[in-house]
Amino acid sequence: MALHPHVPERVSRLSSRGQFALFLAVTVLVTVALTVLSYTLYVVSGTAQLDLSRPGYKQALSEVSPTDTEDDTYSATGDLDKKALNEFKKKYDALVGKTKGYSAFDPNALSDEQLNLDMSGAVGPQ
């Protein structure tokens, strides 16, 4: 006898223990699939590379500047008078100025000299 009109008869014929085991198996399967999907999105989207909560990135966390969002906003409506233009320029220059204080990923940081790899006399690319 079927439990419910929408439950397949095959499932209904299982004992309650069998039904519970099937339920657990499906639940675990769905959980594994969703976990793998989440992790894949975490890696593929680039979030993993910026995740400072990973082991070994405690120092990097201390180097990240605190967010200061109050001074970074600007209203999209209102008059465009001298005061509004000066307000924008001041905030814009302040943010652009902040970029000057950070590394620009100088390629020389990975040179043979910096890494103590003496490659003098290398033939060059084939």
Binding site: Q49, S75, D118, V123
Partner: protein, 180 residues
Amino acid sequence: MKKARSLFIVLTAAFTVLAMIGSATPVQAADGDMALSDTQVEQIRQNCKQAQSTLQRLQSTDVATRVNRGRIYENLLNRLIAPFNARVSFNRYDASSLTSASATITQKFAAFKSDYQSYADAYANLVSMNCEANPRGFYDQLTTVRAGREKISNDIADLNSGLDQYTGAFNSLKSSIGGQ
């Protein structure tokens, strides 16, 4: 119903396997290997552990720099430039040059994020590989990482150029408004 359930199970299993393979695929090392002498290979083998230690410290700094720069560019684009462009249009001034400059900045920022992602993947492989067992592979991967870093450096230069362009467009607008 039975077929649908079977199909669902098969598709879920296939997707799971593909996802695991995809996330585990290593980044390819650069083609065109440097011709290294045996002496150089031995030198790399002796010093590569120390080099990897230096690289790990630099990796931590790079991530902080990426986060800091990324946050500034995001704030510039979303909190200042976009609302300012809207305000210019709202007041019926010509915002075309501002819009063009901000589109350039947006494009360059997207390139920066994409290039950093590739660079970080290659960098992660570089610091985790067994360099003593494979010094040639280590140096090849180092060459790849260097190229990636140079690309990011160029992206930042392009972003600065885009910001200068926007500044020029702003100054032109300010002059035109001031002259009215």
